[in-house]
């Protein structure tokens, strides 16, 4: 049965990844919590599953014209890779720096941007913003390639301040103009003409000095010349530490209201934000340090089921639990579409505003998609995850309806269900009476456990991480 350590590990893995299966949690729970956190914080020391094997079995995933293929592979790695936090940090930055495929229709370009976040998502804020500002997909997305020395395009300058680093209210309109001027000439090029040659080749950053405004500018009261200076000023601002800390809190700890209301609505846990801000400031914006503080904090450990799962977390969690898709099953390629129907098209958000999180993930349409996806993946009792649940429920012997429900909740999580939901499931279990293994694991017994798991993942409680 669930013990505190396993419940804590389950919580950690839901937040740094998409959740882990019961057997994996038991292994993790034998180690000190801080050790597990430390390993998660150093994904470089582990390696991904062999991606070439992936390509060989599923050449369709090599198709680069749509975000569907790289997006599906990303979700697959979130669910199955050995480095969950690396993928989760990439998803975090993708939330904050929302960039979409639809503008360039160049999947290699957006994939390269996500790759930057995977590589350096736990690095310094300064480097992350620098990488971002030099990323061709971002340059194209927010038109910095149209930001010329003598004809400024403010799009990137504005969003860098408003959406990516400081938040509204922490800069003036003049700062936007100064930032735009500083980034003139930061553009990109396609190594070879894109059609028909290099659809598969990502564009590269280019500094065009003939199109750069070399004049002195005043940005947030300081003298700057180019984009790097602007970023150096930004990351020293306490507003930047606060903005990113609140984003991290919303993404990893507990749901906050929408970003647009931050200027007027205080954080739900001001003390927690202050702790994260202090680490950010002390470490000069080292995201790994901030994440270490966050994951080891009491406020994190206590915040169980305080977030509505994002579609990527939901889909990744379901396939982890069900053990689907099994490599190299073709259905791997359908993961992206599943999250898209739930309102989160990875690598293709509808605007730079990004996704609204928390309760706003859920409406009648997206809830329907979630329930249907979960049921579809868990209804087949031969799926390895479901088979393993059945095996482990059976291993504890005959179960009263009450015990039957408890064991299934434990194996699917452990999950916390309300008294009402528990009673509903127990009523259902009672229709079949005692869950008996006297005649072994019969088809009937398998069916009953499978149905119970289906109902658990359809329940409101399963929407929370």
């Amino acid at each position: 049965m669930a013990d505190d350590q396993i419940e804590l590990m389950a919580h950690l893995m839901r937040r740094v990844g998409v959740g882990a299966r019961r057997d994996a949690l038991e292994v993790l729970a034998e180690r000190p919590y801080e050790d597990v956190v430390e390993e998660l914080l150093h994904p470089d020391e582990l390696t991904d599953p062999d991606q070439d094997v992936f390509d060989r079995y599923l050449p369709v995933l090599l198709a680069t014209e749509l975000p569907e293929s790289p997006g599906s592979r990303w979700i697959y790695n979130m669910a199955n890779g050995p480095r969950p936090l690396r993928e989760k940090m990439a998803l975090f930055w993708h939330h904050v720096f929302a960039t979409a495929w639809f503008k360039s229709s160049h999947a290699r370009a957006i994939t390269a941007q996500i790759e930057l976040f995977r590589e350096n998502g736990l690095g310094s804020m300064r480097q992350i913003l620098l990488d971002l500002s030099r990323d061709p997909c971002m340059i194209d997305w927010l038109d910095n390639s149209e930001n010329h020395a003598h004809a400024n395009n403010e799009n990137y300058g504005r969003e860098l301040l408003e959406l990516f680093s400081l938040g509204i209210g922490n800069y003036t309109e003049d700062d936007v103009k100064a930032a735009a001027r500083a980034f003139t000439g930061w553009t990109f090029q396609q190594p070879w003409p894109r059609y028909p040659y290099s659809e598969g080749i990502a564009p590269i950053f280019k500094f065009d000095e003939t199109d750069h405004d070399f004049e002195e500018k005043t940005f947030l009261g300081q003298t700057v010349f180019d984009g790097e200076d602007v970023i150096n000023v930004i990351v020293k601002e306490e507003a930047c530490a606060r903005f990113i800390s609140r984003h991290l809190y919303n993404f990893f700890v507990a749901d906050e209201p929408g970003v647009a209301s931050w200027v007027a609505t205080p954080p739900r846990d001001q003390d927690a934000i202050d702790i994260l801000v202090a680490t950010f400031v002390d470490s000069d914006g080292d995201i790994r340090e901030v994440m270490r503080t966050l994951l080891n904090s009491e406020f994190f450990k206590e915040a169980r089921f305080q977030r509505v799962k994002s579609p990527a977390e939901f889909v990744g969690g379901v396939v982890t639990l069900a053990g689907t898709p099994q490599f190299p099953d073709f259905s791997t390629t359908e993961l992206w579409r599943a999250t898209m129907l739930m309102g989160q098209a990875l690598m293709n958000p509808s605007s730079v505003e990004g996704w609204h999180t928390g309760q706003e993930w859920l409406d009648s349409g997206t809830l329907t998609e979630r329930v249907n996806f979960a049921v579809k993946n868990l209804m087949d009792t031969s799926n390895p995850g479901v088979a393993s649940i059945i095996e482990r429920v059976a291993a504890s012997g005959d179960a009263t309806p009450d015990e039957f429900v408890e064991r299934c909740l434990d194996m699917c999580g452990p999950l916390q269900f309300s008294e009402d939901s528990r009673a509903t499931l127990i009523d259902f279990a009672e229709q079949g009476g005692l869950l008996s293994f006297r005649e072994g694991v019969t088809e009937e017994v398998e069916g009953r456990i499978g149905r119970m798991v289906q109902l658990i993942v359809s329940a409101p409680e399963y929407q929370f991480a």
């Binding site: 927010l142 038109d143 390639s145 149209e146 010329h148 004809a151 400024n152 395009n153 403010e154 799009n155 504005r158 408003e162 959406l163 509204i168 309109e173 936007v176 749901d255 970003v259 647009a260 200027v263 007027a264 609505t265 509505v308 898209m340 129907l341 739930m342 309102g343 509808s350 605007s351 730079v352 505003e353 996704w355 609204h356 928390g358 309760q359 706003e360 859920l362 409406d363 009648s364 349409g365 997206t366 809830l367 329907t368 329930v371 249907n372 049921v375 579809k376 209804m379 309300s418 009402d420 939901s421 509903t424 499931l425 259902f428 149905r451 289906q454 109902l455 359809s458 409101p460 929407q463």
Partner: protein
């Protein structure tokens, strides 16, 4: 006000996300200042579709021009609001969209204006399809606690646990689902919202089950998201389920660059879809009770940036329908440089809440003040009176 309609009035809202360049839709084509300010967007005069001596439609808006010529389009010019925080305060997509959705330009509003309208029509949340949103994700305009909205990604596959083939098992699972999603006491706000959402999924799925099969039409819509969404509006509207508000979005209007190529594509899709939609409604004898409101979060900067236009102000709205008295409403913002807001933007000439108030009072027949948060002057764009 000549005729009266007997059916309950219906509002179809189309949000153009990203900030439609109003000046490029209805172009001051004779104006030298504008031609000089927008060299990257300037079209040969003979390509534009003149409306009068000052304004011409962009050629991509041909389908809308035809509806306008037939007297079914009221163009509201220079729509915006007073920016309280100085230049750029409301140039954020976030902020501007929130202002339109919640009618609150001073602080962060929490309740959507249409959600308040839904509450007016269905105070006890008895009909989950009083308002229907087509698209993924619910716009804040429709969100408020205790208000139920049905949001549909795919009308043809709308239903719960449709993968369970055994009918009996599915029925039983759905019964249990219903119990699991019964609102409990003291579970918390998000849990309450979720329970309410789950309950409405079941009810709306039942109601909408037959809508796709009952509908047939001779109108051939184009294959793009806005055309498909508007066709779905007709499918649900003609099913007669008591839906009073439909909502959908058309995305991609943030034309900082490549406006010369991207803008015509979107505007063509949009205006042709609206034209097909009107025809389809008329074929089903279901047009007289419908008004379309097209809005966007802001207009764009007067000067182009060499390839597109940056965030600005002074946008426009369109009211479309058989009950509409076609024509130009409000005033086109002054194009004289001395009048430019902050030296670079159009001054708005009418508050967006005036447009809302007009639609709410004259078409939806409700008291607008509590919904938009004040008294706003109205325009008179309707020839039909609502009998309710």
């Amino acid at each position: 006000m000549t005729t009266k309609i007997q059916k309950p009035p219906v509002l179809v809202v189309i949000q153009l996300s990203g900030g439609l360049d109003f000046m490029n839709t209805l172009i001051p084509y004779q104006n030298g200042i504008i031609r000089d300010a927008r060299p990257a967007l300037s079209l040969p005069m003979e390509d534009t579709l003149p409306l009068d001596n000052d304004l011409a439609w962009h050629p991509a808006a041909k389908a809308l021009k035809e509806l306008y010529d037939a007297g079914n389009v009221a163009v509201v010019q220079g729509v915006g609001w007073e920016h309280l925080g100085g230049p750029g305060a409301d140039r954020s997509h976030f902020r501007a969209t929130d202002i339109w959705h919640t009618c609150d330009s001073a602080k962060i509003g929490t309740e959507g204006w249409l959600a308040k309208l839904i509450r007016e029509f269905d105070p006890l949340s008895e009909n989950p399809v009083t308002a229907v949103n087509f698209g993924l994700g619910l716009p804040r305009a429709l969100a408020a606690s205790g208000v139920t909205v049905t949001s549909i990604g795919n009308l043809d596959k709308f239903g719960l646990m449709t993968d369970i083939e055994q009918e009996e098992e599915r029925a039983e699972d759905i019964d249990i689902f219903k119990r699991l999603y019964t609102p409990g006491l003291g579970n918390g706000m998000v849990q309450d919202y979720l329970a309410q959402t789950g309950t409405s999924v079941l009810k709306s799925a039942d109601m909408l089950a037959d809508a796709p099969t009952q509908y047939s039409s001779d109108v051939e819509y184009a294959s793009n998201p806005i055309a498909e969404a508007l066709r779905d509006v007709v499918r649900v509207h003609t099913a007669g389920l008591g839906t009073r508000i439909f909502y959908t979005q058309h995305q991609g209007y943030d034309h900082h660059s490549g406006e010369g190529i991207l803008f015509p594509k979107l505007v063509t899709e949009l205006t042709e879809a609206i034209s097909d939609f009107m025809q389809d409604l008329r074929n089903h004898d279901a047009s007289e009770e419908v008004t379309i409101l097209v809005f966007t979060e802001f207009g764009r900067r007067i000067r182009d940036n060499g390839s597109g236009t940056d965030h600005g102000s002074g946008g426009g709205c369109y009211l479309i329908g058989d009950g509409v008295e076609g024509g130009l409403y409000g005033e086109y913002p002054s194009l004289e440089p001395k009048d430019w807001l902050y030296g670079e933007d159009l001054q708005h000439t009418i508050d967006f809440r005036s447009v809302y108030t007009t639609v709410l009072e004259q078409w939806m027949a409700v008291d607008a003040n509590p919904i938009v948060g004040g008294n706003f002057e109205q325009i008179r764009p309707y020839k039909t009176e609502v009998a309710l």
